[in-house]
Symmetry: C2
Subunit: 319 residues, 2 copies
């Protein structure tokens, strides 16, 4: 359910969100920079009517093949397509949508070493204003991990971190958002997920403006030390040609998900106020598609596929 | 305009089309096989209710990094999505669509040498049967060339071959289908086309069943010697690391087009009777995405971009 904004200063949340994502962006960059000899380039861009963003990128780094930590604040008019899709999802929005506002953080880290998983998170605040000047607002977010080789301890640690962040606000959040994540990151035509999941939520407002904001902030902040620890653990793991090829093939699947299914990519490509370089920064530096590739039964690669096909409960499962 | 089938044997065209595409597939394979030490693997597949196809693939060949020459015959029930999209495009189709039939040839050749362009063509025959047992039929097709480095002579030769094939049937075809091709292979979010075009047509029936079939056959047959000549010409052209990287970047754009915009890919991924490995065989073996890549002004790479942004008239332009 969307709510009208009742705070006195209707722009207060826009500002708070923008400051928060800029802080998390800086913290994330600082944390990852410790691993890589190559420095983040900081690319500020400004679009039309005050839309703009900051893109922090490492490409061809020693540890990170491609890392994109992006913030953006865009506002303007939804395309007919985007408005139609939105109203289909949210029947509570009435009248003609005349303006939208979106502030978000988007992180995708593609490490070079196939033993380090790819990481993604996105947190966003959204406002819609209809023809009667009525405002609707909500938060959305997603955090998910895409390993190339399964390290059960990593995955459990990752999920437990997210559960802990969720439980502080509502014990129903983690199980629900975990399930939503497994549903969302599903590559339908491959009958598999793109990774081992995490959490995914959208249209969230049930804790009120301040509470929902705090929840999103907690998720964003708690994920930085967690992913950094996973990177550190596998920093010097050995790998060879075969592991690299498998990683590239899985990155092809990642690109398939982002280009075919991802709602954020669709929104970005259909929104004149956004910027294509930022929207597609999530794509890997390299990817491959082999015809009819199938991992050998019993191999490490086949072991990964099993959990992509059938998601596990990483928090309580003891096997 | 779609037409009802008036021939006595309503299945005659299905059979003729299937035989034709199998012949063109064999001819194409034979023609390309001469260049490569690696042999085409021939992969026959059978789906549900008599759908099936033949996939001829070279992967990691000496000349062809990935070559996919596919035929398929699928029939069944359109998904709600696919039926909705089709009826939006063709207002003449009334009533509930209860069955479809599609027979097609699909060719994508990604050569290893960046001086040899990527080639694609697709020819298909489509039938729809509505709830009143009324049949609609049409042909569709597309042929286009995607160079990494511009060789004007190649592109002119390619377009002139297509014009010659078209002119035999109707002098209006080439200019119209050339324009449709430039419109179709447009990567909207990049504001550029994926290549130097060719021809594209859909819902074609204006020559009657036999005439339209003959036209499609002529196009399919005339393109084989043309592309073979282009391959032969550049077979031993020199290239280095930089040219390979540029080729991989452009292949990323190719993957973007196929996964985001291509109607055939969408149809394939949404159709239970098709096979994902065949649908996605068009994707390159390797691709890359660089953040904010832009060719140096005046470079060979920038020269290519110019004609992708603003299509040229390759047949009459004398510059």
């Amino acid at each position: 359910m969307a709510h009208e904004i009742t705070v006195k200063n209707k722009d207060a949340m826009r500002t708070r969100m923008e400051l928060m994502i800029l802080k998390v962006q800086a913290d994330f960059c600082k944390s990852l920079q410790e691993f890589d000899d190559k420095e983040f380039i900081v690319d500020k861009w400004a679009g039309k009517r005050g839309s703009g963003g900051v893109s922090c990128i490492i490409q061809n780094g020693t540890v990170f093949e491609k890392a994109a930590i992006l913030t953006s604040v865009v506002h303007g008019h939804l395309s007919d397509n985007a408005a139609e899709r939105l109203k289909k999802r949210r029947s509570d929005i009435r009248g003609t949508i005349i303006q939208y506002f979106a502030a978000g953080l988007s992180v995708v880290i593609h490490p070079r070493n196939p033993m380090i998983p790819t990481f993604h998170c996105n947190f966003r605040y959204f406002e819609i204003i209809d023809e009667h000047d009525k405002r609707y607002w909500w938060f959305g977010g997603g955090v998910d991990l895409t390993p190339y080789y399964l390290d059960v301890d990593d995955v459990k640690y990752f999920h437990k971190t997210l559960k802990y962040a969720c439980d502080t606000y509502n014990p129903k959040f983690y199980p629900e958002f975990k399930q939503q994540c497994d549903r969302y990151f599903y590559i339908e035509h491959r009958h598999e997920r793109r990774g081992v999941g995490g959490i995914f939520f959208d249209d969230l407002d049930c804790l009120g403006p301040q509470g929902t904001f705090e929840f999103v902030k907690t998720c964003a902040q708690s994920i930085i030390p967690c992913y950094s620890a996973v990177v550190k653990k596998h920093l010097t793991d050995a790998y060879g040609y075969a592991e690299r090829q498998w990683q590239l093939l899985r990155r092809g699947r990642y690109a398939e998900f982002n280009l075919i299914y991802d709602r954020g990519t669709k929104f970005g490509l259909n929104t004149p106020e956004s910027r294509v370089e930022s929207v597609l920064a999530s794509l890997p530096l390299e990817a491959r598609w082999d015809y009819k590739h199938s991992p050998l039964p019993g191999s490490k690669e086949a072991e990964l596929i099993k959990v992509l096909v059938k998601p596990k409960d990483w928090v309580t499962d003891e096997d």
